[in-house]
């Protein structure tokens, strides 16, 4: 019965989709419509609205202590809040078709330690030059697989919901998303797992009220629809949808018995059947940290937390949401310079430069009457930058000097919440895939240098024309299992031994070619493309191909946190802190990492920035003698001043003499 209910919910989703299809376009185009909506009541007070509310289950029935279905955030919260508008906001659109990218952001990285895979994925539109970030559909990864893999690091919505997925498969529908229709069939597992709806309480629960670990555990058990209920400890959940086979009959008694069971905690219900949800309008920092934390790894270990300071803004008492704001449409401000907000509202003063220096229009005096464009928001101090030539603001982002870990001689390994599921209780060593590094100082399209995190993709693919097509990680595992024979860790068991790597990868490539029917399979790692080559005697061996492929290139995304205080910014020690041989912004290096024994050469930041080596050398020499030059300038000015005084004196003497002569003549 439960299965049927879930299936009904999927069908209901289809209908809902049809009903919302018309207004969706409007919502996407102008999210202010949602904010202006009068469909929903609002309290319009600064005080917290106390949420004693009725809960509704996934079948949209009111929940009682005897209910057997999990609570649905969409059916519960969506009664008073514009769920449809919210579900198009930033975060939730990470799993939506054709979602906008804006400034490059961290991709989802599909990792499989057994096959040495670290594959950057994103549903967001990518810049044409960013060929090494792949659309999941093009790697034949279904929305269900993506939800299963990354759902615990995603607040839900979009493709996490069966209804949203099914629309992509609806024949004849106007919004059919081509790559998904043919390559990725609708997963049968949605019928068992339910949808991973936007879980409002992930962010809006009072600190300590929401159990993220339980949510992770439920999603890991494929209990998508049950995760919000379990995370709020509204009920105990017994059973795992992951135990049900793909081809199970939903009406079969065995299947029904195997489905997760819900037992609500009667103590949570008031006599009138309402439940208290202790929630906050502005999410607490801890909610953000669940998906936005990072750790540094050096000398093969995760660096101790006590050695690092927190972001200077948080230290000053600010909250993440003070800058990263949003309205009901949940288009969270990302806070980078030049961001254009879908609402049309200027968010310039929510960026570093906008908040501390004012918007560009206010700086040029064009809108001096526009108070909202001025610097000093929330009491932000105006930086002096005394003696720093303004050209630096044209060439460097604020974050280049003020953000990220203090630069070292070489970029270090980083772990992030999105990539390494930080926040989950685990036994991490720091060596886990993906191999992300930072800070790497690379330019963005605006020509400025930004501190960025980078990684090199590692995946198995086939050469198609002049590009590499990654193969589905699940298929690759099946195809290469016998040839690779990795029990746990590809790096430890194969990639650390060159001879073994060559032998096993060669076999695995042959297996992929046989299974997929592709002409040529390759393994990409650390920026190198490994493929089979045949000697004159016909013997096959593994070699790094000489041809370069854009699919193997470095993936980079800028970071802005943690912000370091002025005293810890680059350049405080003077020009030579950067303009010298050891200037970290230019001279520090990053080495392409990947599950491969072939060690790549370190790349200097200056090289990544496209700076000519000789030109940089000349600059450094110019700055090396800067102190002496200042003395020379002072002497020069003294001499010129003396000459000017001599000229003035001479002119004064002549004028005085002439005056005396004139007076003498008169007398």
């Amino acid at each position: 019965m439960l299965v049927l209910n879930n299936l009904c919910h999927v069908r209901l989703g289809w209908l809902l989709w049809a009903a919302f299809a018309c207004c969706e376009t409007c919502l996407m185009a102008g999210s202010t419509i949602a904010a202006d909506s009068t469909r929903f009541a609002h309290s319009d007070s600064e005080s917290r609205y106390v949420h004693w509310i009725d809960l509704y289950d996934t079948s949209n029935r009111k929940i009682t202590p005897a209910s057997t279905l999990p609570y649905s955030p969409q059916n519960t919260c969506g009664r008073c809040h514009d769920y449809e508008a919210i579900s198009h906001g930033w975060h939730f659109d990470a799993f939506a078709a054709e979602s906008k990218q804006g400034r490059p952001s961290e991709p989802w990285v599909w990792t499989d330690a057994r096959t040495g895979t670290q594959l950057p994925l994103s549903y967001r539109e990518q810049d044409a030059s960013r060929n090494s970030v792949f659309h999941p559909a093009k790697v034949a990864l279904s929305p269900w697989q993506m939800t299963s893999q990354f759902g615990a690091r995603f607040p839900g919505g979009s493709f996490g919901e069966a209804a949203k997925t099914s629309r992509t498969l609806e024949p004849g529908a106007e919004t059919v998303i081509e790559p998904l229709t043919e390559d990725v069939p609708l997963s049968p597992r949605w019928a068992f797992t339910g949808s991973l709806e936007v879980d409002c309480m992930v962010c809006h629960a009072s600190p300590g009220d929401y159990d993220f670990e339980t949510r992770r555990s439920q999603i890991s058990d494929e209990n998508f629809a049950w995760a919000p209920t379990a995370a709020m400890h509204l009920a105990s959940i017994d059973g795992k949808a992951s135990r049900i086979k793909d081809d199970a009959d939903a009406d079969d008694d065995k299947t029904i018995v195997a489905m997760p069971k819900v037992s609500y905690d009667e103590g949570r219900f008031a006599p009138d059947g309402k439940v208290f949800f202790d929630l906050v309008r502005q999410p607490d920092n801890n909610s953000c940290f669940q998906c936005h934390s990072s750790r540094q790894v050096s000398d093969g270990k995760i660096e101790a937390r006590w050695m690092h300071d927190e972001d200077v803004h948080l230290r000053a008492g600010m909250m993440c949401v003070d800058c990263h704001r949003n309205g009901i449409e949940h288009e969270t401000v990302r806070g980078y310079q030049g961001q254009s907000h879908p609402s049309g509202v200027s968010v310039e003063t929510l960026s570093c430069s906008g908040c501390h220096l004012g918007s560009e229009s206010s700086m040029s005096g064009a809108s001096s009457l526009d108070v909202a464009a001025r610097a000093g928001r929330l009491g932000s101090p105006r930086p002096q930058h005394a003696g720093l030539p303004p050209i630096h603001f044209e060439r460097l982002a604020c974050t280049a000097c003020h953000s990220g870990p203090a630069p070292r001689d070489e970029a270090i390994r980083m772990m992030t919440s999105l990539a390494h599921s930080l926040g989950a209780s685990d036994h991490r060593t720091g060596a886990e895939l993906p191999q992300i590094q930072g800070s790497v100082f690379v330019k963005l399209d605006d020509g400025r240098i930004y501190p960025q995190r980078v990684m090199w993709p590692a995946f198995w693919g086939t050469i198609e024309g002049d590009s590499i097509q990654p193969r589905s990680p699940a298929d690759v595992y099946d195809w290469t299992r016998k040839s690779l024979r990795v029990r746990k860790d590809f790096i430890e068991e194969i990639a650390n031994d060159k001879a073994k790597f060559d032998e096993k990868v060669l076999e695995a490539l042959s297996a992929i070619e046989n299974e997929s029917g592709a002409e040529r399979a390759v393994y990409v790692a650390a920026g190198q493309v490994h493929g089979k080559v045949k000697s004159e005697s016909g013997v096959e061996s593994l070699a790094v191909l000489a041809t370069s492929f854009s699919e193997s290139e470095m993936v980079a995304w800028p970071t802005a946190h943690n912000v370091r205080p002025a005293g810890w910014s680059l350049g405080v020690g003077g020009c030579v802190e950067c303009h010298s041989e050891g200037g970290k912004v230019f001279s520090s290096t990053v080495t392409p990492l990947g599950p491969s024994p072939n060690i790549s050469q370190p790349i200097a930041m200056a090289s990544l920035q496209g700076i000519d080596v000789n030109q940089r050398l000349l600059w450094n020499q110019l700055f090396a003698g800067r102190t002496n030059f200042k003395v020379m300038v002072a002497v020069s000015l003294a001499v010129l001043l003396a000459v000017l005084l001599a000229g003035l004196g001479s002119a004064a003497t002549i004028l005085t003499t002439r005056r005396s002569t004139r007076l003498e003549k008169r007398s």
């Binding site: 930058h385 030059f629 200042k630 010129l640 001479s650 002549i654």
Partner: protein, 135 residues
């Protein structure tokens, strides 16, 4: 000998002014190779201008015997040169904030452009002076 040094320094200073002008033209702030050349040549200017001023000073103090256009060119060059160098010098010290630096750069630029006119005036005066002495 002193005549040769005087001539060489005058040519050097005028040449430097021309290069500084060439490297400061174009839209937007200076950067890259152009800025590097501008900075290198400005170093030469800092060295050459005081020498030029000292070597030419005795003649320029003789207000009666020299043609006024040469004197005007010389003193304008020294004055504008002083302003360009002093604005550059203050910019190099950790004194001025971003807004003040923008102002200093503007003054530096304007003084620099005026110094081009001054150098031109000096050259014209010098040519006339040479013709006069040949006659």
């Amino acid at each position: 000998m002193i005549g040769f040094v005087r001539t060489a320094l005058a040519i050097a200073v005028c040449g430097i002014v021309a290069v500084l002008l060439a490297t400061s033209l174009g839209g937007g702030p200076l950067h890259g190779k152009t800025l590097m050349v501008h900075m290198m040549v400005s170093g030469a200017m800092v060295f050459a201008l005081p020498l030029f001023a000292v070597v030419w000073l005795p003649r320029m103090l003789d207000f009666e015997s020299r043609i006024p256009i040469l004197r005007a060119g010389f003193w304008a060059l020294i004055c504008t040169g002083f302003v360009t160098i002093v604005t550059m010098f203050v910019s190099m010290l950790p004194i001025a904030g971003t807004d003040d630096l923008h102002r200093l750069i503007s003054v530096h630029g304007y003084a620099g452009f005026v110094s081009v006119g001054a150098a031109a005036l000096f050259v014209v005066g010098w040519v006339f002076s040479c013709k006069k002495s040949v006659r």
